[in-house]
Symmetry: C2
Amino acid sequence: MTFPVVGMVGGGQLARMTHEAGIPLGVRFKLLSDTAQDSAAQVVQDVMIGDYRDLETLREFAKGCDVITFDHEHVPTEHLRALEAEGVVIRPGADALVRAQDKGVMRATLDGIAVPCPRHRIVSDPADVAAFAAEGSGFPVVLKTVRGGYDGKGVWIVRSAEEASEPFKAGVPVLAEEKVDFVRELAANVVRSPHGQAVAYPVVESIQVDGVCDTVIAPAPNLPAELSARAQQLALTIARELDVVGHLAVELFETGDGRILVNELAMRPHNSGHWTQDGAVTSQFANHLRAVLDLPLGDPRPRARWTVMTNVLGGDYPDMYFAYLHCMARDPGLKIHMYGKDVKPGRKVGHVNTYGDDLADVIERARHAADYLRGTITE
Amino acid sequence: MTFPVVGMVGGGQLARMTHEAGIPLGVRFKLLSDTAQDSAAQVVQDVMIGDYRDLETLREFAKGCDVITFDHEHVPTEHLRALEAEGVVIRPGADALVRAQDKGVMRATLDGIAVPCPRHRIVSDPADVAAFAAEGSGFPVVLKTVRGGYDGKGVWIVRSAEEASEPFKAGVPVLAEEKVDFVRELAANVVRSPHGQAVAYPVVESIQVDGVCDTVIAPAPNLPAELSARAQQLALTIARELDVVGHLAVELFETGDGRILVNELAMRPHNSGHWTQDGAVTSQFANHLRAVLDLPLGDPRPRARWTVMTNVLGGDYPDMYFAYLHCMARDPGLKIHMYGKDVKPGRKVGHVNTYGDDLADVIERARHAADYLRGTITE
């Protein structure tokens, strides 16, 4: 049967879980991975080891793929444009993807389509940061390198011009943003296909610890229907206006006065959508594949009243296997997703999904498992 | 992280779906496959191509595996015993597995533990078949070669001694069984681990067409609770008495007078358990892996009121992709599982799961998809 070949660049856990979702779909999956030990490279049949920063490597990889998609945002935009010029099908395309790769371009684009964002502008040096602060309500100010950041890396919260020198050392343009006094963080996940079909997952609450996603609750508790619809509409508008193909995660700040402001965009399966593997009819990974192949999208509706995802971070114990066994014994309904990674303190090595009718119980089960696997609790 | 390595012998769809289920579990999965084109070999990273009938090949494969398990029953029992004698961990073990490999041994064992079976005995020639018929209620009689049959192959229903010559031509012992006047077929699926933990899935109804599984309804409609419990208990007893490790499917005949008789046993994930992928908290594939690794078993309970599985058989059209696209567009909630196989008429190339509250609707959706994919309907 001539099913198409999807090539994914990047061997992380997102590629691992995309391959998993592609097996029942019958998708033929090729991977470009830095090493054979990467999370996805351990489980995919057709792996090319190579450097995604090298255009020749990308060209070689693209041969025999019907479509190329991504596990991360780090492929140089000029390479994407070169490949597109040569006729390679890239989804999302370079014009869309640059808006997730470069936070400066992202903000300019969102301003252009009147999407509410934190106050922001590109700043040139610490004195300019002070000027930016003075233009609004003062310090603290959030500084971000426009490229290369993730999971809290490449982001600084500064309280004075004196604290603002570090971000400029990388030689990458720096974006200043007001520090939003939000009540919580939300994420609106949508998927869009090339012919414009789109689906919206329920809006979730995302709880960050030290700049890293810790817990996701689906749907976001006590979210007024109007706000939920507004967040979904915002994500669908961004997907359409930016011509996104595939999964789009829109990270949002919810403010005390009922506004939602866009924090970040990701044009790939996203940590805030991992709950869909066990909590939705169609997972974000399956729908990302369906979208990049221009197949009809799957039902995004939830399967349970509440689904909670907690990230499993590495702790002090390099071998999690016995903790893992303990968690399975304690809770036979736990949905554990391991990434095959070596444990390093603070590194995302897996996640846990739980679901049920009682939110407090569902949260407790997921948190217990994540804490026990990390080693921060022993009972 | 030092997760164990599971080696699976056989590259069919059961291995493909077991690998899929092993990815979130963090299981390291090795495959022994006849060819690189086999269903599972297309999607597994670590594949050895070789002949499972060759002991040296099996020995080589077993190196670096913590446990060996199976996609089919066809590995010679003497090879399994040789490997066990050399210290290889095989689950289910040779002593258990021979009872699923050899229908004569299976019947003798079930007789020994007083499990109700159709009347049966080994027969030596067509005249002996006539004698067997005369001992009971006459013809028709079911004849089975004790080894090598599946999906209706190796099974004959004969109406006279004259019709009974074919089964003896293979030179394999032949088992005669009364043709049970059943009202329907059921299947009781259980999973058991080496330390004796066991879980039972809901008893399902299995509808066969031309000796091949066509539709599975979970749970079996209108099954009295007493009969359901009896079927589960029967399967748990067989699993314990035969020291089965992993998934055990017990195919049953339900008679009009409220008896259940064992038709067949399979000690591996089974077609009657495919519904668990989308309809149970833990799939048969995940629980098979957990069992062979002696990990605590996952919750076998259903996630929906009704789940229906229909097999997708190959039809006259070699390329299913456009039918597939059509089915996705018609029903965004369809869970399609493709095996990556070339389409041949009558070959199992995939299955479809549907679930919901309205049984008639859930059946119609699954049947429509299977029929459309096969090409027997065009709208």
